[in-house]
Amino acid sequence: MQKWLLAPLLLLQLLAGCGKPSSSYLPKKQELRLNLKSEPPTLDPRKATDTTSVSVLNLCFEGLTRMNPENEPTLAAAQSFTLSEDQACYTFTLRDSLWSDGHPVTAYDFEKTLKTMLNPLFPCEFAADLYIIKHAKPAKLGKCGLDQVGVIALDEKTLQIQLEHPVPYFLSCLASHAFFPTPSHVVEKNPQWLDQEYVSNGPFYLKERQYHLSMLLKKNPYYWDKEQVRLETVHLALIQDELTELSMFENAELDWAGYPLSNLPTEALPSLLQEGILNQYEIAGTYSYVFNTTQFPFNNAQIRRALSLAINREEIVNNITMMNQKPAMNLVPPMLWAQTPACFKDHDLMEAKRCFAKGLEELGIKQEEFPAVTLSYNTLVGHHKIAQAIQQQWNLALGIQVKLVNKEWKVFLDELQHGQFQVARLGGIASIEDPTTFLDEYRYLSNGKNCSKWSHPRFTALLEESDLTADATKRLALLREAESILIQEMPVAPIYFYTGVYIKQPYVKGVHISKLNQMDLKWAYVETDE
């Protein structure tokens, strides 16, 4: 009985040690192994809306500009530009750059791509991002022809873009995937180009793709700035489970785990922090709870203020999310503009109670008559925990009952759109680096995303005025005033500003993550054995 146990035990002992490299391990090649978390729904820059697809697109394509490590837009596919007097017309001169199949990148590529996206028959979901271009919206709605759209390729190397009004952050916009070119010489000939001839103009190109298993990207030999690109290979795994990803990282099968491509399990954060290997960075995004201002009692601003002030954000950020987020007492994250003093104090119980009493008075009801609040959120562990904490907080501070309702994702979205909620969790990361990305939601009642159905004439007027203001400082001042009106009325209660957390192997360097939580590997490299 004992003898035959000995052999397997010995084997176990032997194997127990291997598989994990020591901390001084250095790889031999310029290869980076990442996890993309889920299969990108599409790799067509003209159709992609979700972050997974956009992550891959950012590696393969490049627009007229690119955000550099200092978060400023620098010229990329364009080598120079001129700006008209009214600051609404840009004329770009393109660099001599090539597609990954050796063909030159032309201004026609840009023009055709933009016009395709604005074609009413083309299923581009984010076309609204392009509406800053002159006549883009009417073209998409079929009210005018595409030839009227303010994008013209004057010749092979010159592209002119006419905007509806001056947009000071337009150069940053051009760095986003909405303005990426597609290789018209391939797309026009081959409708299956995405599967068969995936040609791109960025630092990397897609060499191999095994659906739901992995993707392999290689350095693009035709990239105009290829001397700066040091990585030869990027390997993307597609593991959905966060714990598995962390385990693979610890087993040295991955070089990076966590944001921006994926996530780290919350339970692991304290121990990773203790080990000192956890990296954190700020993201321009806000997590908030939105009130349905058409429903009693949330039609009253004082009640909304009371609920918002009663939240103990510090407690949530320290104990539940644990990613060192900043409590949010404004809607727009401080990253998007210089320091703004907070509009109110966190967990201001005295003020909360005062507002609550005032609200009750305005509504003409007594404390006991205050109805139970329904708090809706979609099924995700993090939302669940935060909601439970806030349920407690509101109960302790204001004595109100809170009912938690978690819904399946699409049902949740559907109910949000149709106003079938009282308080709901909302959150998002900025799509462009400008405060309007947060404020625009509430500009008009007709805006589909304005689920709180709140509007304010002065707020709308300020935003419209800011559109026409060319002077950057004046414009920001207008936006700040708009934000303070919003916070005063509180149709939405901001809770915290996003941060990202990740862990990486010590030999990985030069990876840059933008304020919008996008990963840039152009300058990334790996410390190798030589």
Binding site: P41, D44, I239
Partner: protein
Amino acid sequence: MSNYLVKKGLILLSSLFLVTVLTFFLMHAIPGDPFIQDKAIPEEILQALHKHYGLDQPLYVQFFKYLDGVLHFELGPSFKYEGRTVNEIISTGFPVSFYLGMEALVIAVFGGICLGSIAAMNHRRLPDYIMMVIAVLGISVPSFILATFLQYLLAMKLSLLPVARWGSFSQTIMPALSLAALPLAFIARLTRSNMIEVLQQDYIQTAKSKGLNGIKVLLRHVLRNALLPVVTYLGPLTAAVMTGSFAIEKIFGIPGLGQWFVMSITNRDYTVIMGVTIFYSALLLLCVFIVDLLYCFIDPRIKQDYDKK
């Protein structure tokens, strides 16, 4: 017999059709739209998308168009995954799930029958009790908890197996074990339960007294009579494991078909929902049918009943 088969075939097809109809209308009855995401889409773009995919037409028109496609074996494009068709999704995902499922099934069936037999033959003695504890744990611990635990123990702590992903045989071991645990336990208990009854029957005592040793008695007489419920259970089980388990595939990063069952519904990817449902139902109905046929082989007494009709 061939008459019987043709009749049965028609019945299967009509059942499949009913499932298709019910699923189609159920799918459209729940709220949610394939294209609405976190970011708002302006109304006109949403309408254009619906038009592009034919979702603006009345339901019965959509249904007949879909049915027409199915009859030509074309299950449509995925709404969420650009450029991928449902046919592709099934043809790439199914072999993976099938392989894993078969591995798990083999472990479950052989392991379960052996364990159950040993327990039955040692009824009320120590091996029986040990086996019962193992079986109950197998039934009370869900597969994904077992999977995480195995991953932690075998891959992280002992480094015996790779953590996840798919490609080599060693990457199939942990997922197969996790999938097999529940069926193994249940098969073991079913086998044991029926075997205990059979072992006490007179004809077994007769065989033993005639001098046949244990294993022969077991194989020739006991198993055949005891396995009917196991075979019944195996019918739907085979269809289920062949089409994959969402939880296991997610934990181990396996590109199988199982994840699509949940993902397609979460995404409201209508064509994929219909496609995988039809595929699974066809498999299920087939497996149940085969099980019914097997009854006649396993227990001659049941055959009499069919013959009588």
